[in-house]
């Protein structure tokens, strides 16, 4: 596939790895923000190509992982109404709530449907006007314009049997939260290329200045990630801390103006609780007042904050880059993708799932 395969060339990857090794003189810890990047790093063994002085830690960028427990519970509750068709991205179905997941709710008779696009949920709503269609709208900035467009269309067409349970999260406030933590050990960031495709990277510039961290907007293929690491390390070695754009074939400084306009129309910025991490101010999106009629929480009652999760699972520390999956006593034994104890093992983009699939001794064949 053009614009993918050429960025997986092993010879070029070795050149970049050699350039990184030839640049580094001090130990540096970099965080890749996005779960898609984490997956590529573990799958292609990019971390194993790097000199020992460069450590990659994996960030919170898995929206399925950070969707609060209480939203899963609410989705299950809504799906229990006989008139409801609950539509969700497939990744959400196996995420555990406080008792059970959406897949088991489906097995118990809930009409829960996996959609590829939020517009598919609208198609169902148009076709079945006697049913209440609820779309479980999760994701980062990459997905927000698509989900916003579903509400935008519903309002424009006057579709009254459609609503959204919205649990959107925003990346820059989470990066600030990690950097502001007293035990922060991150020297530089690889910013998420598709989030920045939508938002641009102006909002990262004050973060680079305030916390003196290089931030390199980075793509998802092995050469992208290696070049992102190289640019980040070059800055660190030179004592610089600016925002650079490695993923320039996709990302422009001001992002996608049309997408941002529809997001601003449909959503507003709100505080958000991140599963495993906690409350982060101004880190989420909820529906704007003009779209309140499409808010599933207005139709089915508000989400109630759940108690904190207890147990052996260390996914909160994994999501913040403080622990590796292999630090967990349950990893690969009591906790596997088939029987997950925590969200980072459930989601296909979760860090624990990536380590299990590509690194654990009893992993499957992978690819």
């Amino acid at each position: 596939m053009k614009f993918r395969d050429e960025y997986r060339d092993p010879t070029a990857a070795r050149h970049l790895a050699a350039a990184i090794a030839g640049t580094v003189t001090k130990p540096w810890t970099l965080m890749e923000v996005c779960g898609g990047q984490t997956h590529a790093i573990v799958r292609f063994g990019i971390d194993e190509l790097l000199p020992k002085m460069v450590t990659l830690v994996h960030g919170p960028g898995c929206p399925v992982c950070v969707t609060p427990l209480e939203y899963i519970d609410k989705a299950i509750e809504i799906a229990g109404h006989s008139e409801v068709i609950l539509c969700s991205y497939g990744d959400m179905l196996r995420v555990p709530g406080s008792s059970g997941d959406l897949l088991s709710a489906k097995a118990l008779g809930g009409d829960i449907r996996i959609v590829y696009s939020p517009l598919d949920a609208l198609v169902i709503a148009r076709a079945q006007p006697s049913r209440e269609v609820v779309f479980f709208a999760v994701g980062f900035e990459t997905t927000a314009p698509a989900n916003a467009m579903a509400a935008y269309h519903a309002k424009r067409e006057g579709i009254t049997n459609f609503s959204m349970l919205v649990s959107h999260v925003l990346v820059p406030p989470a990066m600030r939260s990690i950097l502001a933590s007293p035990d922060n050990r991150i020297h530089g960031f690889l910013a998420a290329g598709h989030v920045c495709t939508i938002m641009g990277y102006e909002e990262y510039e004050p973060i680079a200045v305030q916390y003196r961290v290089p931030i390199v907007v980075t793509g998802f293929e092995p050469l992208d990630i290696l070049e992102g690491i190289y640019l980040c390390v070059l800055q660190l070695e030179a004592g610089r801390a600016i925002v650079e754009n490695q993923y320039s074939r996709s990302v422009r400084r001001d992002g996608n103006r049309q997408a941002k306009a529809v997001m601003r129309e449909v959503f507003r910025v709100i505080p958000r609780r991140w599963r495993g991490i906690g409350d982060i101010a101004e880190s989420g999106l909820g529906l704007a007042e003009a779209y309140a009629d499409f808010d599933a929480e207005r139709r089915f009652g508000p989400v109630r904050t759940a108690v904190d999760e207890q147990g052996v699972c260390i996914s909160g520390n994994v999501l913040r880059g403080r622990s590796k999956p292999t630090d967990c006593p349950a990893f690969g034994t009591r906790c596997t993708p088939e029987q997950p104890l925590g969200v980072t093992m459930v989601s296909s983009e979760g860090t624990c799932a990536a380590y299990y699939r590509y690194r654990s001794a009893n992993a499957g064949s992978g690819n």
């Binding site: 070029a12 970049l16 996005c34 517009l119 598919d120 495709t197």
Partner: protein, 83 residues
Amino acid sequence: MCLAIPGRILSVSGDDPITRIGRVDFGGIVKEINLAYVPEATPGNHVLVHVGFAITVIDELEAASVFEYLREIGELTEGAEVK
């Protein structure tokens, strides 16, 4: 979840900017994709697609920049090895 797949636009239909649809070829699999967020896109362009929406037109000049950069780096590392 933020995965976006590159594909090539074969044709475009629709006049309303927010419902404009492209037939997009992903290495042999053709799907209908919403083009509301890439008003500049025309047949022949490559776009990145996420949950049914094209989110950017791939800049082909910029796409080559990694490889130009690599050529420079390749020379640098080879030079270093000679020393």
